[in-house]
Amino acid sequence: MASRDLAQYALFLILVALATVPVGRYLERVFTGDAGLLERALGPLERRIYRLMGVDPRAGMGWKEQAWAFILAGLAGTAGLFALLLVQRWLPGPPSGNYLATPMTWDLALNTAVSFATGTTWQAYSGETTLRHAVQMVGMVTQGFLAGGTGLALGMACIRGFASRKETPELGNFWSDLVRGVLYLLLPLALLLALALVGQGTVMCFRDHLALTPLRGGSQLLALGPAAALEAIKNLGTNGGGFFAANGAHPLANPTPLTNFLGMLAIVVVPAGLTHTFGRMTRRRDAGWVLFAVMTLLFTLGLGGLHLAETARSAALPAAIASGPNLEGKEVRFGLAQTVLAGVATSNGACGSSAAQPGSFSPLGGGVLLFNMLLGEVAYGGLGTGLVGMLMAAVIAVFLGGLMIGRSPEYLGKAVRAKEVRLAIGYALIMPFTVLVLAAVAVSTGAGRAGLSSNPGTRQFTEVVFAYASCAANNGQAMAGLSANSPFWNLTTALAMLLGRFGTATLAFALAGALSCQRRRPRSAGSMPVGSPLFGGLLFFTVIVVTGLSFLPVLVLGPVAECLSMK
């Protein structure tokens, strides 16, 4: 039993490691050259889109233009989806209006629009009681590609900033990166993955809810729809918002252990491959591998922590029963290993598509998910954004290292001066600022506490912090004890999502622009050994300490206190 769990974790990590070089190489080709066969087929379409946009794909853009493009693409998505959600009641097509029991209030529409346009896909609604199939497709699926693609474009702009050899303010062309990322990576992969999912049982049809008479009589209303289209891109684009309310736990969305495993690979493989793209484009593959190794270490520790926490015997279960993990909120087909894998991959991967209900996880198990999100999702992380977060930590790490050994800090031949450090620290502070301030407001106001209902004491505090961490980290998973569909929660979580998406991205673009304007100094005996295991260790501790010190109090008040109170 336990050995097969271990084998599943090992198989996953091995496949990710094996995919990193080919994926990293392919990404470099997509964004700097020629995507091969796909480009032959889709090149005319690509050029047509540029003509419609009125952009020259070869024209470089500085960091401010890039940041504007990133923000405006997000706002266009928000506005479009907001409008679509407000009119969806009057749109034709299944499911019938009488099945759509959740009213689409303006605050829920705004929250949902911001949520999907920022790649958070926090869902204060249930898919099957709220949305028409047409909105799931034109609204949610489109945002999956748009938010995933813009995140990837952000990642590529940052890589170019670190990799530039000459002094240039240009970080490539944002629109070209977006269009090429969608056409040559996300769209073909999503189509393949979605077909594989359907083969395993994920539903993909356009019909209304089906009222049927179960085997022993009575009635059952079966929600169906084009789920596979969304399920594939929600993982590839690291968005996470599922077709059904139960998301990755729903058997018509995630029907077998294999679909779960493929979905988790889809979350991790591209962000992991980007570390190799980084290594290739900076011509320092060793530095790329150090980032990969630190990510893998963080990911593996998360697997171990969550596995141990969820194996421990639960206080809720009386002694009369067989030993075993607490299966409240979990699915039999996944067992412990696939549940843990999904928990760690989604909480690290800016992707809320959990295969179980995190709200029923043990205190420390929920704490592991929370910690992963508070780290800023750097263990492979979101599409593009995971690498950016790790590079920000690397800048802080060389700064700390430089202070310790009394040498002027530099990373890959680029000096880390006061300006760069300020930007990286600002990036690192957005998360604690957003989460701690909003959580304090929520627990000290009646409107905030009104969302807390079912669970006792310290768990409620964890649920609040979890919600804001999930939104600020653009993750989207939630502990179900919190009823978040109220104006207070819809608006404050939307604010957290906006800060977590556009605040961090603007600082990352600015840092990339500042680095790009520096000439790259050749390697010398005085260079910092950023491709060494020693630097990997420093980076690991930087990630843990910067986060740990910011969030230690809330982690103690939430998960740790709850765990101690249960003994």
């Binding site: 706002l75 085997l215 084009p226 029963i321 067989a322 039999v332 209900q357």
Partner: protein, 197 residues
């Protein structure tokens, strides 16, 4: 006007057409050709009538049926409606919640009452609600736990029912992924079949 506004709007519109309309329609067509049953929701028919989806559990309660897991789904009137496949979800109850402990104790009592002669330990999945509320599976242990009751109610030999459970047990996928499991609806259909119902 900021020069990035036009490309941003076009990017949104172009992706809406390409990924919001073309991609799902092409996928729907391919899925319908390659996997028509799965794409339509893996519906199961008996005597020509749809009796459920292979992937969606049903709330069996009769003594002659295998029972699935408890379900925490909520109906349209906000009251409990187990296995409501139009409103999926789990309980959201934390392990320390006294409500969860009470629910578990009530489920244990109900199982003991249904079969007082079955003294064995009760498998965890039979007393905890699933994440989706629609879990179609139980563990092989949970099926074996119910064999005595089902065999007696149906007038079958225990060995016969035991053999059927073994036949209906799916191992880990590809020999490694996930856990062994039994599909409750299919198991009950198989039971009906051997009795010619």
């Amino acid at each position: 006007m900021n020069p990035q506004v036009r490309p941003a709007l076009i990017a949104f519109l172009a992706l809406s057409v390409l990924t919001g309309v073309a991609y799902p329609l092409v996928l729907g067509g391919l899925a319908w050709m390659a996997f028509p049953d799965q794409a339509a929701g893996s519906l199961l028919r008996k005597d020509g009538r749809v009796v459920g989806s292979r992937l969606i559990g049903q709330g069996f309660t009769g003594p002659g049926d295998f029972w699935g897991r408890p379900s925490a789904t909520v109906g349209p009137d906000a009251g409990p409606l187990p296995y409501d496949a139009a409103n999926s979800g789990g309980s959201g109850l934390s392990p320390g919640n006294p409500g969860l402990r009470r629910a578990v104790e009530a489920r244990v009592a109900a199982l003991r009452l249904a079969d007082p002669e079955q003294p064995g330990p009760i498998p965890v999945d039979l007393i905890t609600a699933s994440g989706s509320g629609l879990d179609p599976h139980i563990s092989p242990d949970a099926a074996r736990y119910q064999v005595h009751r089902v065999a007696r109610a149906r007038g079958l030999r225990e060995a016969q029912v035991q053999a059927l459970v073994r036949r209906e047990t799916e191992g880990p996928q590809l020999g490694i992924l996930g856990d062994a499991r039994v599909n409750v609806l299919e198991l009950n259909l198989a039971l009906d079949a051997i009795q010619g119902k």
